[in-house]
């Protein structure tokens, strides 16, 4: 288009030579590709750290890999997984503990946020509630292990109050161990949701609430009918992020229960770790990774995308 107009003498008294010296022309190619060039390094880096391992895991999942050579075994690893009650157990444990923990955290954080956000000392509350989140999870796991298992502080307190008459055998009870893991997670990560919910509540238009109050609504009604529905997108995003971190929980299991008793607290992450790095059954562990990867992709496409879209507007 430009070329034809340059040769159009009717409209261009200036010669092309002058044009070139006066105005620099930009490269169309560079204009079109510049934004891609800017994201490229980040995307390549992430592809390297996700796509490469993904493909590697898929390939490895078709082999029996112990220490030496890779022996192709076809779908054997998957067939074995299908019948592996420990794998299914790990999947179940992950879901079970994840759901309970996430529900508890969400309800607690909402309750706390709703009571705190109008408070004049909300900044102070936030700082106090924030504290658990900033400790190293491994240290937290150790301290909880000490408190509940090794030093039996929890049992001791209950005994002193006369609530039980002997030491609790938390360690040997599946539900006791699960409860301990959940408690640790609730203690450490409820603040995450609390901070987000408080911010969301503070960001809400006060006038809506005031109008409702003038209409005679009580606080419970305001909460259920106004604040909560307005917060839905925020809650969705926060739960998605938290839910992902809970289902990939590893450190606590590794330190506190080692998946026991009777594999009752073994999560998928721990299952993969144990299969791969304890029993050096890498092909088998990779097959489990691939299944988890597929689940992740489904969740990401279906849930995460939607949550983030609605939260951003």
């Amino acid at each position: 288009m430009h070329d034809s107009s340059l040769s159009d003498t009717r409209s261009a008294p200036a010669t092309t030579a002058v044009t070139k010296t006066r105005f620099r022309r930009r490269s169309k190619w560079l204009r079109a590709w510049f934004p891609y060039l800017l994201v490229a390094p980040a995307v390549i880096y992430l592809l390297g750290i996700t796509l490469y391992p993904g493909i590697y895991a898929i390939v490895q999942s078709f082999y029996a890999v112990k220490f030496g050579p890779w022996n192709p075994v076809g779908f054997n690893n998957y067939v074995k997984l299908w019948g592996d009650y420990q794998f299914w157990g790990a999947l179940w444990n992950t879901l079970l503990m994840g759901t309970i923990s996430l529900t508890l955290q969400c309800v607690l954080a909402l309750t706390l946020a709703f009571h705190a956000y109008r408070d004049p000392w909300v900044r102070g509350w936030r700082i106090i509630f924030l504290v658990p989140m900033l400790f190293m999870p491994s240290a937290v796991a150790f301290i909880y292990k000490l408190m509940f298992l090794d030093a039996r502080v929890f049992s001791d307190i209950l005994i002193r109050f006369g609530l039980v008459d002997g030491n609790l055998a938390i360690q040997s009870s599946i539900w006791g161990s699960r409860a301990l893991l959940i408690l640790t997670d609730v203690w450490q990560w409820t603040p995450f949701l609390f901070i987000i919910f408080v911010a969301a509540l503070q960001g809400q238009d006060e006038e809506i609430e005031e109008a409702a109050r003038l209409d005679g609504a009580t606080w419970a009604k305001i909460f259920w009918n106004i604040s909560l529905p307005l917060m839905r997108p925020v809650i969705a995003v926060a739960l998605v992020i938290r839910g992902i971190d809970i289902t990939t929980m590893f450190a606590n299991v590794f330190i506190v229960t080692k998946g026991g008793p009777a594999f009752g607290t073994e999560t998928i992450s721990y299952f993969i770790y144990r299969t791969g790095f304890k029993f050096f059954n890498f092909g088998y562990a990779s097959a489990a990774s691939v299944i988890m990867l597929v689940l992740t992709i489904i969740v990401a496409q279906v849930v995460v995308k939607r949550a983030f879209k609605s939260a951003r507007g």
Partner: protein, 352 residues
């Protein structure tokens, strides 16, 4: 120092048209105002002149040179934005100096130019402040200084005064016009405010729906509108439009009759008459063109805006400053028959 030409310029995003086949010629040193309601494509047109947006079709030339493929940074235009767009992390001095720095003006020259520009907009005492510490009017002037500091070949101003209050706006308007005359730089000024357009412009381009409706001097736009849109957009209160018929050379409508209008066509037509070209007559016996019931009386001090209910329509009349009336009273109105406008009732185009 540049003559600008837009030839068949269009901009669209998918099915959305921002600007449709616009042809505008802007003379050297001229102050041209793009006027139109919000969303009519003014900003888009200006951004295409600046090179911030690529036209989908058509050509933009400066002094006859096609600029389509030239980057905004190389076009030597300066722009003043509605939101001022001052760099928040830099002081006012640094803000004004920024374009000089980008163009590698020698260091010692920079300081001199910055101070001169600041002086022109009366900001010399505020050079060390950050934009956040200035009032709206001062920010506006800082943005102006940043635009004039390097004496570009073209000024572009996109509703630069719309965030200011009325008094400040008037003062700034005068200042902008003065500076533009002083520096003799071709300027395109965008606004939706007809007063601004009328007072500033050498010529006005009225836009609507992405297309140019009329180009002309403020006088031409006001007294010789090309269609009903221009007629009703300019002037406050706007021109009255009355649908009626031409019968035997006379205009006839509900409660309205104007003899010998000198229009050759017959049938459906729309009559336009400005509120100031109407006058209330004191008695029903006198010659009059229109009858209506008083619907509203709004004294503004220098005049009284009288709204009459004529048939199904409300029409406005600028009455004498002392005019007062009860609501519902019948009034008779005479038109200045030298200032009648006729428009096609379908297309809205002027009929002469």
């Amino acid at each position: 120092m540049a003559q600008i030409e837009l030839k068949g310029v269009s901009k669209r995003w998918g099915a959305v048209w921002g600007v449709r086949k616009v042809d505008i010629e802007i003379a050297d040193k001229e102050l041209l105002v793009l006027l139109g309601p919000s969303g009519c494509g003014k900003t888009t047109t200006m951004r295409m002149i600046a090179g911030l947006e690529d036209p989908s079709e058509g050509e933009i030339t400066f002094d006859g040179e096609v600029m389509n493929a030239v980057d905004a940074r190389d076009r030597d235009v300066a722009m003043v934005f509605q939101g001022y767009a001052l760099y928040p992390n830099m002081s006012i001095y640094e803000n004004i100096r920024f374009p000089l720095r980008m163009r590698n003006v020698p260091k010692d020259k920079q300081d001199e130019l910055v101070r001169r520009a600041a002086k022109m907009v009366e900001l010399s005492d505020y050079l060390n402040r950050k934009p956040g510490a200035l009032s709206g009017g001062q920010r506006q002037r800082a943005a102006l200084a940043r635009a004039i500091v390097r004496e570009p070949q073209i000024f572009l101003m996109d509703e630069p005064l719309s965030n200011l209050d009325a008094q400040l706006r008037q003062a700034m308007r005068v200042q902008i016009k003065y500076i533009q005359r002083e520096l003799q730089i071709t300027t395109v000024y965008v606004t939706h405010d007809q007063i601004e357009a009328m007072t500033l412009a050498d010529r006005i381009v009225v836009m609507q729906g992405g297309a140019v409706q009329q180009v002309g001097t403020p006088d031409e736009i006001y007294s010789d509108p090309a269609n009903t849109f221009v007629a009703s957009f300019i002037g406050a209160p706007p021109m009255n439009l009355i649908d009626g018929m031409i019968k035997d050379g006379n205009f006839v409508a509900d409660h309205v009759e104007v003899p010998d209008v000198g229009i050759k066509t017959t049938g459906q037509i729309r009559l336009g008459i400005r509120p100031e070209d109407c006058a209330v007559v004191s008695s029903a016996e006198q010659r009059h063109n229109m009858k209506g019931d008083v619907y509203g009386v709004e004294p503004t001090g220098d005049m009284t805006v009288l709204t009459l209910r004529v048939g199904e329509k409300n029409l406005e009349i600028k009455a004498d400053r002392d005019y007062r009336s009860e609501l519902g009273v019948q009034e008779n109105v005479v038109f200045d028959t030298n200032r009648l406008y006729f428009f096609d009732s379908q297309s809205g185009e002027r009929v002469r």
